[in-house]
């Protein structure tokens, strides 16, 4: 059991456990966006931490995140609207899975205080674009919103950290398109179900906004509900009814 360094009460959060100082740079290799208290978790008892956690909870709500901290070595549930990710111990390793549109998810082997890298998965299909430094020693699982811009991790001290995930170096080294034809190829590559193959295309477009923006402006259209949708749904049984009628006549 950990005790707050300030009040002496338990349980203490990581900040108190580290003598009241957040471990700068240890939270994530990418830019850190702060940490938040999990709704069902126990906050650190000290007033300073409570205030700090309260402020971070506001950010948490603004970001539409809801995270439940895992039990030690157990599972975690991260929910955001109807999207959710789940993790648990499977065959001696912490495995994570996600549903719906969480595009990226982080997971790491069940080796407490061992390796400090975790794998980033494209949740739609499972390939791993690249490793990332494990944010905190006690982190169990991380997940992110669909754009993979934010990475959140749950810890056994009931805090959740979030940070900005940037692509691994191979993807960032992708060559930007020099012609419109090359940009068009990258556009096609964005639809690749294999996340690892797609990642360089995404970063190549990001690195060439002068070609990417006109292309995306042209290809992306605001969605409008088609009027004939209900008619099409209604017709789903007609085709087979007609063929049955024909069959009955024969």
């Amino acid at each position: 059991m950990r005790f707050c360094r300030r009040s002496g009460e338990a349980p203490a959060c990581n900040r108190c456990f580290n003598n009241g100082k957040a471990r700068s740079g240890a939270r994530t290799s990418a830019q850190s966006a702060g940490s938040i208290e999990a709704p069902s978790g126990l906050p650190c008892a000290c007033r300073a931490c409570r205030l700090g956690i309260g402020a971070r909870r506001q950010r948490h709500l603004a970001a539409e995140w809801a995270l439940q901290v895992p039990e030690e070595n157990g599972g975690v549930v991260a929910a955001r609207g109807q999207r959710f990710a789940v993790g648990g111990e499977v065959q001696g390793a912490n495995r994570a899975g996600a549903a719906n549109w969480h595009r990226m998810l982080a997971s790491w082997p069940f080796i407490p205080r061992g390796k400090r890298t975790c794998a980033i998965h494209e949740t739609a299909n499972g390939p791993t674009p690249g490793p990332v430094r494990r944010p905190q020693r006690d982190s169990l699982l991380g997940t992110s919103p669909p754009t993979a811009k934010t990475l959140a991790t749950g810890c056994d001290d009931t805090t959740v950290s979030s940070g900005t995930w940037s692509a691994h170096s191979a993807a960032r080294l992708a060559l930007p398109p020099r012609t419109d034809a090359e940009a068009d190829k990258l556009w096609q590559a964005l639809g690749n179900p294999d996340g690892a193959s797609m990642e360089p295309a995404l970063w190549a477009l990001v690195r060439a906004p002068e070609r990417a923006l006109p292309l995306l402006k042209q290809r992306l259209q605001a969605a409008r509900s088609p009027e004939r949708l209900q008619a099409l749904i209604g017709q789903l049984d007609r085709a087979i009814s007609r063929s049955r009628c024909r069959g009955a006549r024969i």
Binding site: K149, I233, D237, I240
Partner: protein, 100 residues
Amino acid sequence: MPRRANLTAMAHFAIPAMRDTLKKGVSSVEQRRRIEDLLARLEDPVAIPSCLRELRAIEVLERIDSAEARKIVESLAAGDEIAMVTREARLVLARWEPKY
């Protein structure tokens, strides 16, 4: 099969509309079976490369984060709320809002 193809192309709108239809009641067992079959296929994001492409394209815009990129995202956010693209664009706008 053209009706199925059309509905697949309109996956964004078709999923909630088909769920509504199932709730309200269908005219035949055959229609229910087909709707359930289509729903099972459409709810897997990998089954719709166009959806994946659009969501990733919005991510490109989010990472470019320029005035022109914002204009494109704002225009997408003005679309029909049912569509995944619209919801994603709105989330990007929310993330761009200064929170801290």
